[in-house]
Amino acid sequence: MEEDEFIGEKTFQHYCAEFIKHSQQIGDSWEWRPSKDCSDGYMCKIYFQIKNESVMSHPGASTHGQTCLPMEEAFELPSDDCEVIETAAASKVIKYEYHVLYSCSYQVPVLYFRASFLDGRPLTLKDIWEGVHECYKTRLLQGPWDTITQQEHPILGQPFFVLHPCKTNEFMAPVLKNSRKINKNVNYITSWLSIVGPVVGLNLPLSYAKATSQAERNSD
């Protein structure tokens, strides 16, 4: 076990702050939410997505309730679908939530997520997996219960899906060791989220990678 690859809660919060700083610069909608007693908190991102196959329209009919969806680039809007019948778009808009919390027991960040329709109906794990990249699907479908569980959110007390943190150290260790070798500062949260995010349908824009090196250059 590599002691060095664990991070303390203060370090976690520091990395989250740096991460959110960049998120604000690029409009990526991450924000920090303190817990009620403000002793800790978590990072949160919400975005809305229109499910592809269900948003179709006549030509000329208004296709998407775009105006009511202020969130950003996670839209998957159909192109040129002019020949199909209009369906009720509202029920097919999905709200995704990603929360990054600190796990005291594992001393690593943990990714909580959930998705629901606008009317509040939650998506099943199976539905969420449709947004998961092919390369991860096979692995996850083979043994989903080893990796994704449903748990109560430690702060909100609501059910969320959780990407289990027990292997975090394993995939973070080589990255961190490597960067230490070359004396490079790495934002743990950025690295970690870039790895685990795609597994659950969350992709980080490339500029986060540059943000870390930018911060390094500024501090040198």
Partner: protein, 180 residues
């Protein structure tokens, strides 16, 4: 009209034939590869790196981009591209990638590859996994800047624009059984 068209197309072949005959035989294979799929969609499960078949100059991959083995641009499916010189860096369809192993991951014998810009990270991962003969239960991660894992559907061309230097893109790869 028809015969003239035929004449014109025949003449087009002459310079090609001249060039082909002046090259070593194994390099001819480059001209007969199937064209790159124009699709830029995320998943290209069947597409492989356009590697020259075994016996091509430079070994299994486009390794050291040394002057005498400079790869000419393979012609697109229809037209024969005139000129044999490598076009200027920015207009190259392929970019040079240097792959570096991290941690306990096996080191690839060939580290330097020429890869189409439109190849996705996922495509590259699949290729490296096959090359290293990893089992299905092993995950492979690729990093830019030694710390950031791009999305699986990110194109290497874009990564080159953002993170490339000295004419190449350095990518680190790491094997893991993270979700095993």
């Amino acid at each position: 009209m028809t015969s003239r068209e035929h004449q014109v197309s025949l003449w087009n072949w002459v310079p090609l034939l001249r060039r082909l005959l002046s090259r070593p035989l194994h390099a001819l294979n480059r001209y007969f590869r199937s064209p790159v799929s124009p699709s830029k969609m995320a998943e290209e499960p069947q597409s492989m790196l356009q590697l020259p078949p075994s016996g091509a100059a430079g070994g299994e991959g486009l390794t050291e981009v040394s002057p005498e083995t400079t790869t000419p641009e393979p012609p697109s499916s229809a037209a024969v591209s005139p000129g044999t010189e490598e076009p200027a860096g920015d207009t190259k369809k392929k970019i040079d990638i240097l792959l570096k192993a991290v941690g306990d991951t096996p080191i690839m014998k060939t580290k330097k590859w020429a890869v189409e810009r439109t190849r996705t990270i996922q495509g590259l991962i699949d290729f490296i996994k096959k090359f290293l003969k990893l089992v299905a239960s092993e995950q492979l991660f690729i990093y830019v800047n030694q710390s950031f894992a791009p999305s699986p559907d990110q194109e290497v061309g874009t990564l080159y624009e953002c993170f490339g230097s000295d004419g190449k893109l350095v990518l680190h790869y790491c094997k893991s059984q993270a979700w095993g």
